[in-house]
């Protein structure tokens, strides 16, 4: 049965997700734009460079510390556009709602979508609603698509990391995943961790304002920093070395990860970006990031190397090394 069924792990953003895309979607939809495999497509229409993306949101619980499904749905798509260096303009909203879902909850979700859209400076300009029978969906699923303008002179892609470049993150990792995990049914401890969910287009604009010469932007959502850096290493044909001690992780996140047996490097973020920046400008860009509300804890966490192409290696706090692989399957809570 296993070989002919979709498993949850196919949707985890890790290796099985990649296999699914490569074996099912790419060969059939095959075209040059899609084959780039970036978080959004870059297309040219009448001489204007547009970024275009779509994303679906099925989070459970719908409401969690630091955000809800509505905020996620707007920020997720805004961030996918921003990771192309694009300025997001318009987004769509499609709702699949389970019969019986409360109108009050829907109102809250819609209100937080509006709030997030206002902050990001995008307009929600079209939408669709479908209601399905009870049991055919889990409360509410939201799909958003978005388009944005790619400014002149900006060229970022997961394939542009070069040896010598620095790897930069805009703050603490793992907040979103652990906030959601802590609220899931079955976890009986209280935590103070809040999701980092945020629109990152403003921060990207600040960074590009400091230097247009940024090679890669990626938001480490599902699969976490580890999976995203593996994608960049593979796409660019380079190696990446991370310094464990430089990676910002909150004590609370580390603690919950320890209890559940998770590795923060694989935990989802919704308000983080990874940037690969040439060494000569990296410090300057990081200084600019620190002046932005979503970048106060920015840090250089590693660098791109010519060795071990396609591999991410972590130098540990005690001076050892380990390979940081892509997430395989879901991260499952361990037993002891």
């Amino acid at each position: 049965m296993a070989d002919n069924s979709i498993l949850l792990a196919h949707g985890s953003g890790g290796r099985l997700s990649h296999e699914l895309v490569k074996s099912i979607f790419l060969p059939v939809f095959d075209n040059q734009v899609l084959n780039q495999l970036d978080d959004r497509a870059e297309v040219e229409v009448s001489g204007v460079k547009l970024a275009f993306t779509t994303d679906s949101f099925v989070v459970n619980p719908l409401f969690f510390a630091g955000g809800d499904i509505g905020k996620l749905a707007v920020c997720g798509t805004v961030n996918d556009l921003a990771m192309g260096g694009a300025e997001p303009l318009y987004i769509s909203a499609g709702f699949i709602i389970e019969e019986g879902f409360s109108l009050d909850s829907l109102k809250s979700v819609v209100a937080s979508m509006k709030k997030a859209a206002d902050e990001a400076g995008v307009k929600i300009v079209c939408g669709d609603t479908k209601v399905v029978e009870k049991g055919s969906a889990d409360q509410i699923f939201i799909n958003t698509s978005g388009i944005g303008l790619v400014p002149e002179g900006v060229k970022v892609s997961g394939s542009l990391a070069r040896p010598g470049d620095k790897v930069v993150i805009n703050g603490f990792i793992g907040d979103h995943g652990m906030a959601v995990m802590a609220e899931r049914q079955g976890l009986s401890f209280k935590s103070t961790i809040a999701s980092d969910c945020a629109p990152l287009n403003g921060l990207v604009k600040t960074m590009l304002g400091e230097s247009k010469n940024i090679h890669v932007f990626r938001d480490p959502t599902r699969g976490g920093v580890a999976t995203t850096l593996n994608e960049i290493a593979a796409q660019s044909g380079v190696g990446i070395v991370l310094r464990e001690e430089a990676i910002p992780v909150r004590d609370e996140v580390l603690a919950v990860c320890e209890i559940l047996g998770f590795d923060p490097l694989y935990v989802a973020n919704e308000g983080k970006l990874l940037a690969v920046i040439p060494a000569e400008t990296a410090e300057r860009v990081v200084a600019a990031m620190k002046n932005h509300p979503y970048g106060t804890d920015s840090a250089i966490i590693g660098e791109v190397v010519a060795d071990h192409p396609g591999r991410v290696v972590l130098s540990t706090g005690i001076g050892g090394h380990r390979i940081v692989d892509m997430l395989v399957g879901e991260q499952l809570p361990r037993i002891c």
Binding site: A2, D251, L254, I318, G319, R322, I323, D325, V328
Partner: protein, 363 residues
Amino acid sequence: MKFLKEYRDGALARDILRKIEGLSKKPVKLMEVCGTHTVAIFRHGIREVLPGNIALISGPGCPVCVTPNRHIDEAIELCRRRDVILTTFGDMMKVPGSNSSLAAEKAGGASIRIVYSTMDALDIARMNPEKEVIFFGIGFETTSPTIAAAVLQAEREGLNNFSVVGAQKLIPQAIRALLSDDEIGINGFILPGHVSAIIGVSPYEFIAGEFGIPAVVIGFEPVDILQGIYMLIKQIEEGAAKVEIQYNRGVPPAGNPHAMALLFKVFEVSDAIWRGIGTIPGTGLKLRKEYQKFDAVKKFGIKINDDREHPGCKCGDVLRGLKTPLECGLFGKACLPEHPVGACMVSVEGTCSAYYKYGKRSE
């Protein structure tokens, strides 16, 4: 969690390493019995920073890995019943049984829920009185007292729709079985701190007393592990053989007598099948007669006849520290984390999974 970063302090770790380097002369093989140690050792790159004469060998201590097909097949058989909700710790989901896995059964429609403790399974039983809620009981001495507590609670509440697939294991006698195998030349044991937090140290005294081999109960942070290795090397170089505790902050010498009393009120010691190793006397737990109504396998009359393991799988030798995963023909080829053949590849604490994940893919 205070103290986490302190026990990962690079400068402190390097100090201890220098002490180990200064002291260690003989070539030694140390076995980490527990999967949590295996993962921590890889995660922090400890093998690589130790002097070349100290070899760390992974032992049998991942409860998921040593669970034989028989129990997984039992759980699968049970979860296929429409009136059953199976509850399990997350890392059992992908473990292959003879023909399927819980993850595949869940995709096929079985009602399986991941829980974080046995008490969560009790909650589910209370909320679903029309269903039988079965807990897949995996674990060592660390989790078994909580299973015992859940059984006692169910008894008190008269919860008749709760039962357990019992596949728990006990550690100390498994070490005796390892030591009785002449092939295994181990000079010291890295014992798991959390198990001793329950059982104390006395069940391990035979390692030093009967076999003359040093053993230290060690915590799971890099500074703990290095300090514990230092204590082992010191014993070895001085020709001593004692059972010591490095993990003082978690382990009282007598363990947790309350938890042990609970455990043995509900369970009694039995023989157990260890995947890839076979039956080891005195390493299993079975429900005492008065609690057998909580035995899911008996309750539903489940019979597993065919529970063969993959013939090429070397998990058995890996679990006994006789082979490294790199010496298995399936490792990294037919047996991968996304398509595991043997249990050591499935659990995040399995030796093969740790080798693969953290990059030890060839000599």
